[in-house]
């Protein structure tokens, strides 16, 4: 991995956090300062405090326990290695979440590329009817629950719904993580909810 690529994963450089310093207590600051000096137990304390939302977002985006755990661990490792770039006036959890998100998007891009190549190969082998039938069966199963319906949405919809509804973040915080204006988050939330509603509709009819 090149330095330029590494830098692109770090939100403190690529995405400026737009949260204001409102003078609230900064519970992570002491641990961050200690971790910067090489205190591993202070960093362990930081990981403990934010591991759930970081892992949760990874799982929501990647839809695989093993991959989510791997990527979340990687995100924490990068956070530790780049603590000197972190501005402790900003929320630590959002900084790590932004790193984890970038790593997830990288994996999804790679995954999409591999799948496109696989599908091209499969088209030559499988009859078209079988594939459609299988897809229909999968879709039917997925519509059975809200979680399932959520999982069928595109990644950009899943991430805003996860951050807003599951993690209860504000649109301003989400905008800081994703690197867009807060108004854009409102629009994306609306579109995501609409897609989710449509996905859930067959369940209600059946």
């Amino acid at each position: 991995m090149t330095n330029a690529h590494l830098a692109s994963l770090l939100p403190s450089i690529a995405i400026p956090m737009t949260l204001p310093d409102d003078g609230k207590s900064l519970p992570w600051k002491k641990d961050v300062v200690a971790a910067r000096r090489g205190d591993h137990s202070a960093f362990a304390s930081l990981v403990r405090s934010v591991q759930r939302p970081v892992y949760g977002l990874c799982l929501r985006l990647l839809k695989s326990d093993a991959e989510a755990s791997e990527v979340a661990q990687d995100a924490f490792l990068r956070a530790f290695q780049n603590l000197h770039r972190y501005d402790e006036g900003r929320p630590f959890d959002l900084w790590v979440i932004a790193i984890a998100r970038n790593l997830c998007l990288d994996i999804l891009r790679r995954r999409a590329k591999v799948r496109t190549e696989d599908i091209e190969e499969m088209k030559e082998v499988l009859p078209a009817g079988d594939e459609t039938q299988e897809n229909r069966a999968i879709a039917h199963e997925e519509h059975k629950s809200l979680e399932g319906a959520l999982a069928t949405l595109p990644v950009e919809d899943r991430e805003v719904l996860e951050l807003y509804y599951v993690q209860k973040r504000t649109t301003k915080e989400i905008a800081g993580v994703i690197g867009v204006a807060p108004g854009t988050i409102m629009a994306r939330l609306f579109r995501a909810r609409e897609k989710l509603r449509k996905q859930m509709a067959p369940r209600e009819l059946s």
């Binding site: 090489g38 892992y55 755990s69 603590l83 000197h84 509804y165």
Partner: protein
Amino acid sequence: MSTTQCPELELLFNELSAGSGVSLEHAKSCERCTEILNEHRELERELFRLSDPFPPSTFLHQVMARVAAHPVSAYREVKVGLAIMFGAFTLALGALVMGGGIGRMGILAASAVVHSQTLAVGLNSAISTLWAAAALPMLVSLALVLFAALFALKRLMAGAPQFSEVKISS
């Protein structure tokens, strides 16, 4: 039943989040909009009920094992140190040039070269006198300085504490 035209859904939901607006007023008297709003509220209620799962129980230990296996590179610290040194040097040079001290510094340097022989002779004489008067204390002092320097260097090279030294409570 409302006689005005039904608003865009996005506008309606935004006004619902804000708590007031013309579209919300319209919805109060429109059956269709009320139904949409109820459906929207129900979906939001369900969404807010979702929660993140806990990571595997070994997660923290795995993270810390990775952290211990990939210490922060000394290269970065050297780079930062060099940058600070270079910055300080540039500032000092700038101050000298701005204050017209370059000429004075040249005179001082030339004077140091001229008087270096006297300095060397004086230093040699001082060491000889010290050696003759207190050889043992001088040797002990030198040994202590050397030991302290080596110990500090060793600590510096060892870097952060190892993973085995870190206590992690779950």
